[in-house]
């Protein structure tokens, strides 16, 4: 059926979507692609995936090439750099291509889910700022009842806006709690082995750390490995981000205290659904905040702890 493109019957013609992501070899992205593929099959859409391997210029080139190829009705863009893609997104909009922002907003304002630039149909994701706020709340919970709470924070990549926003928001939350002090702040590249090494060293200097927070479950688990090795894992509360299958299991096993749940599979489904609707001219919401989707998230929000771990199924 893909041949009769001249057919005017819009429901028979497969809708062609280009999806631009950051990296492919990653369980999070694989889960999201699974969601995308499932929905695409249901809705008779075809989605081509472009991965830029965290290279902003490459992503711009990919979008440019996709515009030139003239094959696509809609773009789903997970921006490697929110602001840098604006010119090329404008180019796409000018060509009449539907644009959906995935995971994070496009444009200079990374703290709200308002579509930018004008013409972008929908933003489906959550901001780093709100994730950080949730992580901060979890930290407060972990610090409850402690006179002095020493915290280590592992950031994935300090040069990523979303990661920095999370950290800034978390600091904002604990601003009024002088008993909470961040004694170590290091960059662990979202890697479990590197986080383990760094925390091995940090625990040497601060064996009395109370809470470890990171912007990725892998890193939190690496920190847990290091603490277990030093025999101090029982004294420490570990907070992760993403709530991967491993993180979820670790919460269940009492190893992790909490994790912020990401729902890539649901995101993938929503992205395709929204894109298809928009191409068909149906109205779509201006933004979908993934934190507010319950189910799959528990009704009280995206923070998963031992209390609500059974009410949530990890998606990646």
């Amino acid at each position: 059926s893909s041949q009769n493109q001249s057919s005017s019957n819009s429901n028979d013609k497969p809708i062609r979507i280009a999806m631009f992501i950051l990296v492919r070899a990653n369980s999070y992205d694989q889960a999201r692609i699974d969601g995308v593929n499932k929905k695409a099959k249901e809705l008779n859409a075809q989605v081509d995936i472009f991965s830029c391997e965290f290279n902003t210029l490459e992503q711009i080139n990919q979008i440019q090439d996709a515009i030139t190829s003239g094959k696509y009705d809609a773009f789903i863009i997970h921006p490697n750099d929110s602001n840098a893609v604006v010119p090329v997104v404008n180019e796409a909009l000018k060509k009449g291509i539907i644009v959906i922002a995935a995971d994070a907003p496009i444009g200079p304002d990374t703290r709200s889910l308002k579509p930018y630039p004008e013409g972008v149909k929908c933003v489906i994701g959550r901001t780093g700022w709100s994730t950080g706020t949730w992580l901060g709340k979890a930290l407060l919970q972990a610090a409850e009842g402690l006179d002095k709470c020493k915290v280590a924070y592992l950031i994935g990549s300090q040069s990523q806006t979303i990661d920095r926003d999370r950290y800034e928001a978390l600091k904002e939350v604990i601003k009024d709690h002088p008993n909470i002090e961040i004694v170590a702040f290091q960059e662990a590249q979202y890697r479990r082995d590197l986080a383990r090494e760094i925390m091995q060293n940090v625990f040497q200097a601060h064996p009395d750390i109370n809470v470890v927070v990171s912007s990725g479950d892998q890193m939190t688990l690496g920190a847990y490995d290091a603490a277990k090795e030093a025999g101090i894992e029982k004294n420490i509360k570990f907070i992760g981000n993403g709530c991967s299958k491993e993180g979820w299991q670790a919460i269940k096993d009492g190893q992790l205290f909490a994790s912020y749940a990401d729902i890539p599979y649901t995101q993938g489904e929503l992205l395709v659904e929204t894109a298809v609707k928009a191409v068909r001219g149906e109205t779509v919401p201006e933004s979908i905040n993934l934190e507010e989707l319950s189910p799959p998230l528990p009704p009280e929000g995206p923070i998963i702890t031992k209390e609500n771990v059974d009410k949530y199924q990890p998606q990646w």
Partner: protein, 309 residues
């Protein structure tokens, strides 16, 4: 006997041709394949894009060709790219666009010359020195920007990367001018001769009265300028400066030079080889994007092209 001989002769001749012109062959072949596999490929717009997208790496690779022919590496170009871009963005964000561009270029030149001075004065290996200065320079860029985006809204600043003249994007003009400059420098000037000589046999060059140190300093200065130029184009394209841009530019540039057929042993090579190296790689990525080759297979296919003679 006679036949065996002739065969042997032709074989070596073929080898020589392949070694010398393999890059052109590979380029033409890929061009034809793409032209036949996708109607989108052979459009003015797409070819224009290909060259436009080659600008940054192309500019850096041309200067890198000089460094490699002289038997050196510059692994700090990625960092200079970011540093100069950030300097320019910071100044441009304050409204002084012209001054921003100037400051970007000059900072690249100064950093390049510093590389050259360190390498010549301490008789140190350029690989190690530029690896280290690259880290320092990128660290400085981080401190300069506080790790944040520097957003430039001034439309004048975006001319460099986003505007067109006579329907052709400005970066293409800059690329062509830079190719011409480095080509002439290398092929037609005494400086170019000196570059080949110090790469081929530094001792012989010294005995011939070549000022080896000065030549090296100039080479690294040129590399600094090229990195700055490329950085400015990128910053202007995306209307923002950031300390972690261009992190792959150095390795990309080196691999383009080498794929073109310039030897890392030094003493040999040309600019046109590098230009073909850059275009070949860009063509391949473009083809992958147009045909939407799966990223898994992209890697495998992409690797094969590196091994071409």
């Amino acid at each position: 006997m006679e036949i065996a001989q002739r065969k042997k002769f032709d074989f070596t001749k073929l080898q020589v041709i392949l070694r010398n012109y393999g890059i052109i062959l590979a380029f033409s072949l890929l061009f034809l394949i793409l032209a036949f596999s996708s109607p989108a490929f052979l459009t003015y717009r797409n070819l224009h894009n290909i060259i436009d997208q080659s600008a940054e790496v192309g500019i850096v690779a041309c200067a890198m060709t000089l460094a490699i022919i002289s038997g050196n590496f510059d692994l700090s170009v990625g960092a200079i790219f970011a540093f100069s871009g950030c300097i320019a963005a910071i100044i441009a964000a304050k409204g002084y666009v012209g001054f921003a561009l100037l400051a970007g270029i000059v900072s690249g030149l100064i950093l390049g010359i510093m590389n050259g001075l360190i390498i010549t004065k301490f008789r140190a290996n350029s690989f190690i020195v530029t690896l280290a200065t690259g880290y320092i320079i990128r660290g400085l860029a981080m401190i300069l920007t506080g790790g944040r985006l520097i957003i430039v809204n001034d439309p004048v600043f975006s001319i460099l990367g986003q505007s067109s003249f006579l329907g052709i994007k400005i970066p293409i003009f800059i690329l062509i001018i830079w190719i011409s400059i480095t080509w002439i420098l290398l092929g037609r000037t005494t400086f170019g001769r000196a570059v080949y000589a110090i790469g081929g046999n530094p001792e012989a060059a010294r005995l011939s009265g070549i000022n080896v140190d000065r030549t090296k300093i100039i080479i690294f200065g040129i590399n600094g300028i090229s990195a700055a130029l490329a950085g400015l184009i990128t910053v202007s394209r995306i209307s923002q400066g950031q300390a972690d841009i261009g992190s792959l530019v150095d390795l990309q540039a080196i691999s383009r030079v080498v794929i073109g057929g310039t030897s890392i042993a030094g003493g040999e090579g040309t600019i046109w080889r590098t230009v073909f190296g850059v275009l070949l790689m860009r063509l391949m990525t473009n083809g992958f994007n147009i045909l939407n080759v799966s990223p898994f297979y992209q890697r495998v296919l992409g690797a094969c092209k590196t091994m071409l003679p």
